[in-house]
């Protein structure tokens, strides 16, 4: 069995109509002003979810997003033939979480950005559980796209989450557990379902990647 205990959980679930401009107003006091004006909606939401979590060179950060900065992608594509350097930088995975950490000027030892979809949660958990750092931050989310939603290349909802995982059970709110042994691949919860489970303290369980997975709460 491999397990990690959950010590901080925050989930950002903005109003469905909120876009980046509204996010900047709502979350303005959480970011340096110089960083705020360049941040994407996903960066703002990730930053808010990470509020109060200071990361350092000894920490590891696992970052999960399927669509990443899809609004920046849309705008960068529209900027051709005079490609925008700012939008190019912003559109590059894993820009969402880098915006936050660069704004804070906080280096991180190891950053593991994942970009799958159907088994993204399972793979992010596995990456976090195999990470030897004493403290692992598991963060992720999506921002809502516009025209790319129609072709399935952008998320149709915005959300973000962050959880601090350690080996310390005392004071933990819950735990993530992997029991190797199973050979069945059951459907894995989607990233937004994982965010909802964190927000509502709901358990999750399924089998995949050669074992049984569980999110448990105290």
């Amino acid at each position: 069995m491999i397990e990690r205990f959950i010590h901080h959980v925050k989930v950002e679930l903005p109003a469905p109509e909120e876009a980046v401009a509204g996010g900047r107003v709502r979350l303005a006091d959480k970011f340096p002003r110089t960083a705020l004006r360049r941040m994407t909606h996903l960066g703002l939401l990730i930053g808010s979810a990470l509020e109060g979590v200071s990361l350092g060179p000894d920490d590891a950060l696992v970052y999960a997003t399927a669509f990443a900065e899809c609004r920046a992608l849309e705008d960068f594509l529209a900027s051709f033939p005079s490609a925008s350097p700012l939008l190019f930088q912003t559109s590059i995975h894993p820009g969402g979480v880098q915006q936050v950490q660069i704004g804070r000027q906080q280096p991180v030892g190891r950053l593991w950005p994942l970009a799958g979809r159907t088994r993204l949660v399972e793979q992010a958990w596995l990456t976090a559980l195999l990470e030897p750092a004493d403290r692992v931050v598991l963060a992720g989310g999506e921002e809502r796209g516009t025209w790319m939603i129609e072709t399935g290349m952008a998320s149709d909802k915005a959300f973000a989450f962050a959880a601090v995982l350690t080996r310390e059970s005392v004071g933990a709110a819950g735990r993530i557990v992997f029991n190797p042994g199973s050979t069945t691949d059951e459907p894995c919860p989607a990233l937004d379902a994982f965010a909802s489970a964190l927000r509502e303290r709901k358990p999750l369980a399924w089998q995949g990647a050669g074992g049984a997975w569980a999110l448990e709460w105290r």
Partner: protein, 372 residues
Amino acid sequence: MASMSALADQLPAGIVACDCLTPFGGADATAAALVANRRALQLTAVLGRDGGDQVPLALLGPMDETLPLRWLPALRGFAAGIPAGTWGTAREPVIVTSSNFGVGSLYAFMRDHDVRHMAHGNPFACVELLRREFGWGEQVHIFSHACVTAHLGLAHAARLLHAGLADRVLVFSFDFVSPFVAGGFHSLKILNGAMPAPYAVRETGSIGLGDGAAYAVLSREAAPFQIAAHAFYNEMFHFTSNQPEGTGFTVCAGLIAPTVRGRRVWVKGHGTGTLEAGRLEAEAFARDFPGAPLTGWKGSLGHTLGSCGLVELAITLAALRGGRIPGTVGGLAPSFTGSVALEPFACAGFDGAILTSNAFGGAHAAMLLTHD
């Protein structure tokens, strides 16, 4: 100075098989071309058929994205060389690493307004196409951390193996240049009309971009070539520049250096052709690995972006088998340090190599390759 208490991963993984695909061909052909000081980069319109400035690109064919995908036939042929296995299962998972994936299809959609391009436009959709093409199962992990991505895939593979969760791991990486990414780097002015001259002291820096794919099959078993250690560090100072005092390079070099343990190593650096990063990298590795030759191959192949770590690993293995390590193709004297190797050198007497990559956000990665 950042804390040095983080340690490098030291989970040795044997390299069962490894190859790459560049405009020169496979790893053996590419290593031979580099030893012969040949450049694959050619001046090409930055937006392909849409024109624009001439910039150095090393391509397997015209870069304009097509239907079917322009790079798929090349990948099909290349993937045929992967050893047979139950790839994509829990015991034999696949890790796909890239920074481009199918992003060129998004540009093609904007150009052609053909919605079929959109089917491959993001990482998971693009990898799903590969999964079906190559008959992989569901256990396909996808990492995307710009130009250090392949290092992450190799390190994660070692962790899966040493946790007893996998018997063999296939790490597969591919990056094909498109107007999307060429236009982006051109907008940053670092992809310009000049050929890259890695580690050279000159007035203006420049990089090239290149098509590249590679794979490695790793196992826990000892093998003639092993990846013995990985080190990572993320500066988080600026998206496109490093801390001016070179902290990120110093930390990463300092993390990987203790793993060498008396081996005689040379260094395959990142060496894109940018000035400041090239200087900081050359100085940091000269400090931690005194006397170790520093070489880099992006002056010939261009930067294969998220795949560069694996492409250059495959070339390293081929060069070691051939007995000569390519010098810094495109490099010029004077270089930033005396350690920069401008000419090929014999691998006799060395029993290890440090391979490094860097990425946006001040991301640093280094691995130790060992051999007898």
